[in-house]
């Protein structure tokens, strides 16, 4: 209020390269166009007569109110698009999966048979395969991701932090198909010739869980590659929450005589636990929907894995691989879409949880990325 008009203009003008708005807000500064909601009656001097001004103001008010109303309704349409899009996703999945839901009911979830010729469908094999791959990926990714986040937030030398953080974030953008191709060219031969025989000869002698015929393809390769993909996501989100720990908390820990490791372990990590859990949940959602890399690496065989070297099948890779054949048969395609619906419901639940945890901590700045690829 106390600020003269030209000062207002200067503030706007200095806002970087955006010059047009600097002049534009001043252009509508005619006295009678005051916003009805904000300031009811200000009577500026220098206008012809009080009554003429009143009537003029009344008409402009009505006009402005009307146009504002239309404008707000028009904006609301943008929100409606999002609602419609969400309804389309959920609606298409439910409607197209309905024949299968109707026929198999809940037993679809734990029925291990998947036989398109005899029209018996059950999700168990694919659910287990999906959770195996996700589990291996997260077991591999979580410790590495959290420790790297600590490295970025606390341990890396100052001159290194900016560069390596950016590197980490950029590597998160490498497309999943590139990971899949890398898996086939590099990880599969490595696993087949070195890792899996070694695993079978050591742990495999005592536990069947680690033995196998060393094919290279399988849940282990798929899980590892998905783990590599998930690390940057979990690490950057964890890092973002770690750097939000207040300076005072850290200093209090030092003042009590703790070493750096004790400060990190006993003070910092507990303080950002919701953020870490949130980032892990986001990583879980990402790993769950991973399609192309898994499709190329898991071996695509509908069997429940009993060993870490076994081949398997995940929901998303089954859909990407066989959906185009399945469309011919209504029940077959419905069963596949019901699998997709299960995946969708799990990701929606997981993402809601992760969002709530992270929103509380970060106040709205949510790191998100599209699952799969």
């Amino acid at each position: 209020m106390a600020v003269p008009e030209h000062d207002q203009g200067d503030t706007l003008l200095s806002h970087g390269d955006h010059r047009p708005p600097a002049v534009a807000p001043l252009s509508f500064l005619v006295p009678d166009m005051s916003d009805a909601a904000e300031s009811p009656a200000s009577s500026p001097s220098g206008l012809p007569s009080e009554s003429a001004l009143k009537s003029l103001r009344r008409t402009t008010h009505t006009q402005i109110l009307r146009s504002e109303r239309i404008f707000q309704l028009a904006l609301r349409l943008g929100g409606v698009f999002i609602l419609l899009l969400f309804a389309t996703v959920l609606g298409v999945s439910v409607v197209e999966a309905w024949p299968s839901i109707e026929k198999f009911g809940w037993s679809f979830l734990w029925n291990p048979t998947w036989n398109p010729h005899r029209h018996i469908f059950g999700a168990w094999t694919y659910l287990v395969g999906t959770f195996w791959v996700t589990g291996i990926a997260l077991l591999f990714a979580i410790p590495i991701a959290i420790l790297s986040a600590l490295f970025l937030s606390d341990y890396a030398p100052k001159w290194l932090v900016g560069g390596v953080s950016t590197l980490m974030e950029m590597l998160a953008g490498i497309p999943s198909i590139v990971f899949g191709a890398f898996g086939i060219i590099f990880v599969v031969p490595l696993m087949r010739d070195h890792v899996e025989p070694a695993l079978a000869n050591t742990l495999g002698r005592h536990f069947d869980f680690f033995s196998g015929d060393a094919m290279g393809y399988g849940i282990l390769s798929a899980g590892l590659v998905v783990g590599i993909m998930v690390i940057p996501l979990v690490a950057t989100v964890t890092r973002d929450s770690l750097i939000m720990v207040p300076r005072e908390t850290v200093e209090a820990a030092y003042a009590l005589g703790s070493t750096k490791a004790e400060m990190v372990y006993f003070v910092k990590l507990p303080a950002v636990m919701p953020g870490i859990i949130g980032s892990v949940i986001l990583g879980f959602g990402r790993a769950l929907g991973e399609t192309m890399a898994v499709l190329l690496l898991i071996g695509n065989q509908a069997s429940v894995p009993t060993s870490i070297q076994d081949v398997g099948y995940t929901i998303s890779s089954l859909l990407a691989n066989t959906f185009t054949y399945a469309v011919i048969d209504p029940l077959f395609s419905a069963a596949e879409i019901e699998l997709g619906l299960i995946l969708l419901v799990i990701s929606l639940v997981v993402n809601t949880l992760g969002r709530e945890l992270l929103l509380k901590l970060m106040g709205g700045r949510l790191a998100g990325s599209v699952g799969g690829g």
Partner: protein
């Protein structure tokens, strides 16, 4: 500065500590460094291996010629994929930029209403929808020849709009965030001077947030560029460039899909081509990423000055 002093103190050799605490201190620090190395090495290895295995195929003509020979792709390059990816991105942007920016404006303008809260939640949830599901939805909305939908067949238009669906929530979220970063005092100042909300949005908020919105669009493109799964359901692949984007001959080529098909073939020569194409795709993605960073870094620098 007491804070700086505390940090400097921990760097000194800690004389009075028990051996166990000293070791523990060093071990955690060392572990974080090792973990970071383990995290970044494979990611850099991907780029190196793509270059190493694909360098035989890499040349200027690789990106400027169409695939040929038998099996298709054994000779020639990946021009069909590059052109197709470009077409898909343009189509996806045509859908998602207006809708996403519109929704972002709505979320910003009426941010405290109940409907906006629900919209924000759903838009965030759409971010996490797996890409196979987008493929299935795209198939039933655009591609299928039975039931409801547009009946466009496996075509570029179907795939482009499906990718547009994926982009919408990304553009929405970043647009809203960019608008929120416009200082509250600007908006309030304009409103106090009598501007209507429409004028505030048109003359103040959008110009101030335009860099952020641009960043959001590029971020969406980045996310969509490597998507393969939705294309399996809506477009598949084309070894040439189509004359139409709708109907049974409307499929376009796509870089990601091309890598998938080449790597799926039991042919060493095609694997080389696949790795070269993977390198091209990775380089495009990383360059785009770098552009986004420069753009948002520049806009933040301006925002600080203001």
């Amino acid at each position: 500065m007491p804070g700086r002093w505390a940090v400097a103190e921990t760097r000194l050799p800690e004389k009075g500590l028990s051996l166990y605490r000293q070791i523990r201190n060093v071990v955690l620090g060392g572990l974080t460094g090792i973990a970071f190395f383990v995290a970044v090495t494979p990611l850099l290895a991907i780029i190196y291996i793509a270059y190493d295995r694909g360098k035989e195929a890499l040349s200027l003509s690789f990106v400027t010629s169409m695939p040929s020979g038998f099996p298709v792709g054994i000779e020639g390059g990946i021009l069909n994929g590059i052109a197709g990816s470009l077409i898909l991105i343009v189509l996806a942007s045509l859908l998602s930029v207006p809708v996403g920016v519109w929704a972002g404006l709505y979320l910003w303008d009426q941010s405290h209403t109940r409907l906006a809260g629900i919209t924000r939640l759903l838009s965030d949830l759409l971010l996490g929808v797996p890409s196979v599901i987008w493929g299935v939805v795209g198939f039933y909305v655009f591609s299928t020849n039975t039931g409801w939908g547009f009946h466009w067949g496996f075509s570029g238009l179907a795939a482009g709009l499906t990718l547009g669906f994926i982009m919408i929530p990304i553009v929405t979220r970043v647009t809203e965030q960019a608008l929120r970063d416009v200082p509250r005092s600007y908006i309030e100042g304009a409103l106090a001077l009598g501007a209507t909300r429409f004028q505030v949005m048109r003359d103040l908020a959008i110009p101030a947030a335009i860099t952020g919105i641009g960043t959001g669009i590029l971020l969406g493109v980045l996310n969509v560029l490597g998507q393969t799964a939705p294309l399996v359901f809506t477009n598949y692949y084309n070894t040439g460039i189509p004359h139409s984007l709708v109907g049974s001959n409307g499929s376009v080529g796509d870089l990601a899909m091309q890598i998938f098909i080449y790597i799926h073939e039991p042919s060493k020569a095609l694997h080389v081509k696949a790795m070269a194409a993977a390198l091209v795709l990775t380089v495009i993605v990383l360059l785009l990423d770098m552009g986004i960073r420069l753009l948002s870094w520049g806009s933040r620098k301006y925002a600080r000055k203001a």
